[in-house]
Structures are given as structure tokens and as C-alpha cells.
């Protein structure tokens, strides 16, 4: 069977992942907006203490993981639409994956400094 190595992998998984990660991000966005709006004015101490709490770190990590997966599916779709030569597309996809992995690693480092 002839398959395109930079194709869509012929599955429902990415489509579903895009929607589930979207819901996770929407819930986190709502929580952060509420916390920031009803809380005290943001100074360094308030800001640091917010991200020092366990639930906030875990919630932010779940958000970051959702962003990473969501970004991968979304940017890959854009590349599949506009970059047709297989070599260029594969190179761009690898670059995007490395950037996303870097984002995620940096986020973990920021949260658990």
C-alpha cells in the first residue's frame, strides 16, 4: 500500500484530540480569568504565590500539554495545505515539533523552578 509519510495518518484521533484539548484550554482560560479578576491586584508576591500552588502548577501543565498537542495538529494542517513538496513539508514538520517540545520543556522549567 502506497502511503504518504507526511499525510494525515487517515484517522479520527487528531480530529478528536483537537477538540478535547480545546475544551481543556477553554476551562483553564476561564479559571485564570476568574482568579485574576476577583483576586488582589497583581504584585510579584501575589503572582509568585499563585504559581507556587500545586493545583495551579498542575492545571497550567495540563493547559501547556493541551496547547502543545493542539498546536501540533493545527500547524500540521496548515503545512499540509500550503507546503506540497514532501521534503520541505517533512522538514517544516520536524522543525515545528522541535519548537513545540522546546515550549513544553521551558514551561515545565518555569513552573518547577
Amino acid at each position: 500500500m502506497k502511503r504518504n509519510v507526511v499525510g494525515a495518518h487517515y484517522g479520527l484521533r487528531d480530529w478528536l484530540a483537537q477538540r478535547i484539548t480545546a475544551v481543556v484550554m477553554a476551562v483553564y482560560s476561564g479559571i485564570v480569568v476568574v482568579v485574576l479578576m476577583i483576586g488582589q491586584p497583581i504584585g510579584y508576591a501575589v503572582w509568585r504565590d499563585l504559581f507556587a500552588q500545586g493545583w495551579m502548577r498542575v492545571a497550567t501543565l495540563l493547559f501547556a500539554a493541551s496547547v502543545a498537542w493542539h498546536m501540533w495538529v493545527g500547524v500540521r494542517d496548515i503545512l499540509m495545505d500550503y507546503v506540497k513538496p514532501t521534503g520541505a513539508r517533512l522538514s517544516a514538520q520536524v522543525l515545528v515539533l522541535l519548537v513545540i517540545a522546546g515550549y513544553l520543556g521551558w514551561t515545565v522549567q518555569i513552573l518547577w523552578r
Binding site: 504518504n4 510579584y44 503572582w47 498546536m71 493545527g74 521534503g87 519548537v99 515550549y103 518555569i110 523552578r113
Partner: protein, 133 residues
């Protein structure tokens, strides 16, 4: 075969004047392409946002630096664009989720919801922008 992803050429009617003056995107099309553009922008801007989160949490001096940095007008404008991108991506995404559930797929309601997305994302941008400014 360099272009293996493109199976066969299709007939096209896409002259430049046609693109500029004859072919108009419906509102749902604008919501869709702006969803894509805002998503790409957010992907690229994450580097900048992570930089600010990193500095602001690193030390009191880092926090003051970010506060001062965000006070600069060009930086505020750039952040405002990202606030819009997030709000638009958020609202358009919820519309797409509802379309997936077969809610509002008839022409009239799909058009109404696309107008609602464009207006709601601008209104949210104004709201958050006013609080940030």
C-alpha cells in the same frame, strides 16, 4: 515526483482581478481564515509569551522589568493583537465545536453565529484591553 501530495491539477479560475474584486469570502469564511491566521500567530508568539512568564516569575526584578516592558506602547499594541487572536480563536473554536454537534448548521444561523463570533471576539478584546491598559 516532488509534488506527491497534489494528486492531479484541477481547473482553477483564480486570476488576480477575480481574487480582488469578484470572489468574496462569506462571513463564515472570514471567521475560518481568521481562525487559522490567529492560530498561526499564537503558535509563533508563544516564544514571546513564555519569555515574559519566565521573567515575571523569576524574581521581583524580573517582574518589575516585565511590568515596565508591558508599559511601552508598541508592546501593549502587540499584546492587544495577541489578546484579539486568543479571543477570536476561542470564540470561533466554540462555534466550530457547536457545528460539529450539528448546532446551527442551516445557512441563516451559521451566518448569524459567524457575525456573533466576530463581534464577541472584538468586544472581549476591548474588555481585556481596557483592563490591561
Amino acid at each position: 515526483m516532488a509534488y506527491s501530495a497534489a494528486k492531479k491539477p484541477r481547473p482553477k479560475y483564480l486570476s488576480l482581478p477575480a481574487l480582488l474584486f469578484e470572489i468574496r469570502l462569506p462571513l463564515a469564511g472570514w471567521v475560518s481564515i481568521l481562525h487559522r491566521a490567529s492560530g498561526a500567530l499564537l503558535f509563533l508568539s508563544t516564544l514571546w509569551l513564555l519569555f515574559m512568564l519566565d521573567r515575571s516569575l523569576a524574581s521581583p526584578r524580573g517582574f518589575d522589568f516585565v511590568r515596565h516592558y508591558l508599559g511601552l506602547v508598541p508592546v501593549k499594541l502587540a499584546l492587544l493583537v495577541l489578546v484579539w487572536a486568543y479571543c477570536h480563536h476561542f470564540c470561533a473554536g466554540i462555534r466550530f465545536l457547536l457545528l460539529d454537534l450539528h448546532k446551527g448548521i442551516d445557512k441563516a444561523r451559521a451566518r448569524a453565529s459567524s457575525i456573533a463570533v466576530l463581534i464577541a471576539s472584538l468586544a472581549l478584546t476591548v474588555f481585556f484591553g481596557a483592563r490591561l491598559w
